[in-house]
Every structure is written in C-alpha cells, then in structure tokens.
Amino acid sequence: MTAKPLADYPLELSGPDAPMVRFRNVTKRYGDLTVLDSLNLDVAEGEMVTIIGPSGSGKTTVLRMLMTLEPIDGGVIYVDGRPLTHMPGQGGLIRADARHLRRERANIGMCFQHFNLFPHMTALENCMEGPVQVLGLSKQDARERGEELLEMVGMADKRDEHPARLSGGQQQRVAIARALAMRPKVMLFDEVTSALDPEVTGEVTSVIRNLVGAHNLTMLMVTHQMGFARDISDRVCFFYDGRIEEQGTPDELFDNPQQERTQQFLSAVNEAF
C-alpha cells in the first residue's frame, strides 16, 4: 500500500465538526487503470452533494464504494463517525470483514440507474423486503411503513403491481421508497434519471427535491441533469480523471467556474441541451 499506513487513521471521528461521510485518500484501481486517485471528500450531515463530470471520471465509483459494492484499494471511508471500509484492529485500522460491512452499511441506501427492483415482488413487497428480513419488523409494521413511503412518492395506487407493469419513472419512485424504508442516514442516487424518458424525469426529480432538507438525510447524487443539480445541491463537485477538479456551491461552480476543464465541460453540456 503506497498510501499512509493505516495506523495513522483515526479509529473514529467525533466532535461537532465530524462529517457524516468522509473519504480519506481513497484510491480505486481496475488493473492498471486508476479510477480514483487519493480522493478526499467530506459530506456533512443533512448536506446534498452532487457529483458531475464526464463519463469515466469516477463519479459512479464514488457511490459504489460507499455502498460497499466495490472494495477500495487505498485509504479509508468513514460513515457516521465510524470507519466503513475498515475496522479497529491491532495497531490501527484493518480491512473490514463481512460482519463489519453488514453492520455499517445499514446507514446507507442507494438508488440505481436501472432501478433494480425485484421483479418477482410487487411494489409494496419490494418496500417490505428489507424491513422484514433485515430490520426484523413485523409484516404489519413493514406494510404500514411501505404504504406510507409509496404514498409519499405518489405510488400508493400501484402498490400491488409488479415492476414489469410500471413505467421507468414509476419503478424509480418505488426504488426510492424501497431504499427509504430502511431508514438510512445517507442516500445515494446514481444517475437515477439517466434511463428515463425525458418527459418522466420530473416525477423522479420532484420526489428527490422533496427529500432535501427532510429528516436530516445526507445525500450524494451523480447526475447529468445540470439544472436539477443546480436547484437542489448544497455543493457540486466536478470530477475529472479520478479527482475532484473543482467544487463549490451551485452558483459558484455553474456561474463562475475557475478551472478550464470545468468551463469546457459545462459549455459542452450546455451546447447539448
């Protein structure tokens, strides 16, 4: 490992300034290709951070590592003050085992580009699966929770339909309800509107819009919808070539980008729409 020895990383983050999510020198490689190069990123509790950038810049990998779908090759990720990718061991942090991962990822929920609803379950059953199987809720409680969330995303009338009978926008709204049913502290949205027809993206973005500021939920979002990112983000990070090239408030980044690559990317995106 070329990064700092893991003895130098704190076993926990505490204090009023402790972020909800912290990436510390996080590196990710696929073979010889370095997708993320020593990433440092803090997300505060309740903050909405959007990641933009050209494809292949490592945006989605950030979310996938945080969801523990991808192991990391260097550095440490902390969530809610505790290490996620590692756990306390002798002489410092050691790589997390399956048990530690399972305990810590309970804080995180994720929505995917292609929804990934369970096709053999109805909308409501999709929302009940995690609460019943993982959180140990009674079927009655899980049903109430699921119905409430489906109501919130405007899908209450479709609760008994299987995903195959729902449109993309409807499936994505169910997927958001399913993730929220686990009561995560951090929600990840990975290009949730990219697979949708343009006329239905609004039904998904409006659901996410309503989540901002509610329940003190911390959110990370990867999106290509610049207008949406600008509207709802507290902070926007522009990724380029596995690094954060530039970050700032939406106004700073979109109106007054400092880096040449950011300017190029934004003007290219503006031309496309």
């Binding site: 969801m67 523990t68 779908l69 399972r102 990822r105 309970a106 995180i108 929920g109 994720m110 995917f112 292609h114 990934n116 609803l117 369970f118 096709p119 053999h120 379950m121 109805t122 699966e129 995690g130 199987q133 993982v134 299987h162 995903p163 195959a164 009978r165 399913r178 993730a179 686990m182």
Partner: protein
C-alpha cells in the same frame, strides 16, 4: 410367432403397469436427489473457496464425460470391494442421482448467472444476508430460467431408468425382458414398454412448458 396377440398383451399389462410404478418411483427419487445435489454443486462452485470450486468442476466434468451405465455398475459392483454393500435400488439411486445432479448443476449454474448483477447490488444495498439474497432474490428469479432445462432432464432421467435393469432393479424394462423370456414373445412386452414411456413422456414435457409459463406469470415476470 408372427402377428400381434391382444390376449397376451392384456394378460401382461398388470405386471407391466406394476413395474411402471417402480420406474416412476426410481425416476422421482433419482430426480429428487439430483435436484438437491445439483443445487449444492452449483452453489458450491460460486463460493470463493478455490479448491472446492475446482474439485466440483472436475467432478461434474468427469460424471458428464462417462456413461451412466458405467457409473451404475461402478457403484454397485466396485462398492463391495471396499466394504460398501448396497442394494440394487440404493446403488441405482446414488448413481442416477449423482449423474443427473451433474447435469442439473449446469442448468442451475446458467440460470443463476442469468440473474442480472443489479439484483445482487440491490440486495446488498438493502443489506440482505447472503442466504436471504440467494433464497429470496436470486433463486426465485433463476427458477424460470432453469425450468426448461430441468424439464428436459426430468424426461431424460425417466427414459434412463431402464439402465437400472442391468443391476436388477425391477423397473419396466427389466420386467418386460423377464416376461419376454418366460413366454418367448418379446414383441408385445417391448412395444408396450415403448408406448408406456411415450404416454408418460409427452404430457410431462407439455406440463413442464405450462408450469414454466405459470411460474413466470406468478413471479410477475410477464405481463
């Protein structure tokens, strides 16, 4: 000796039908063993334990590359040399169960691989355990992919049960052969065996197709 004799046919029918029950029993038991063992073989190959996956892989290839009759003989006749004395039924069920387990494990393997990776990721994002992920998410979705192949091998194991006659399992073929030898007439018993196999195989294949459609609909995977 020439010409079909209906009176003889009718007289041997009860014995043949009784033997048909044994054939069905052998096929059913063998298939039940194969379904369970096959799943164990398929899941075993998906573990990260390299020696286990290697051994299972080679074992399955070995079984698929050697004749069933040899395997039946092997279990029945070679076993006693090592002090393992099995009845024809037990030896036959082990041999045919293992044989078809190897084939079914390949069906399962393909079906499990057909479940999109996104389903695994969704299961992880909901923090389901490995057992819950397989049991509640992956296997139910793999099942429709497996049914057609499983149906083929169900008919296959049924048609292969006559091989058990070589070690003296009193199934249909064994009985027909005995009737023929007793009466010096083989036309009627063997013809009836063919008809009985046909009458059972054809509807089974059709039922499997119906079951597949029903299952897909029940799982909400077709509109």
């Amino acid at each position: 000796m020439i010409g079909w004799r209906w009176d003889f046919t009718l007289s041997i029918l009860p014995r043949l039908l009784e033997a048909t029950l044994n054939t069905l029993l052998a096929a059913g038991m063998g298939y039940a063993i194969a379904m369970v063992l096959g799943l164990i073989f398929a899941l075993g190959q998906r573990t990260p334990i390299k020696p286990l996956t290697f051994i299972l892989r080679e074992f399955i290839e070995f079984i698929r590359s050697t004749p069933l009759v040899l395997q039946i003989f092997f279990v029945f006749y070679v076993g006693p040399q090592f002090g393992i004395r099995l009845s024809p039924w037990t030896a036959g069920m082990i041999a045919i169960g293992l044989h078809y387990a190897a084939y079914l494990s390949e069906v399962y393997r393909g079906a499990l691989n057909a479940v999109p990776r996104g389903q695994w990721e969704a299961a992880t994002s909901l923090n389901l355990s490995m057992r819950q992920t397989y049991g509640r998410i992956i296997i139910p979705q793999a099942l429709p992919h497996a049914i057609a192949g499983m149906g083929n091998y169900l008919v296959g194991i049924f048609k292969d049960t006559p091989m058990l006659s070589v070690i003296g399992v009193a199934e249909l073929m064994h009985t027909a052969n005995a009737i023929g030898a007793e009466n010096y007439r083989f036309l009627e018993p063997f013809t009836m065996v063919g008809i009985i196999f046909l009458v059972i195989s054809l509807p089974t294949a059709a039922l499997v197709r119906l079951f597949e459609t029903w299952l897909r609909r029940k799982l909400g995977m077709i509109r």
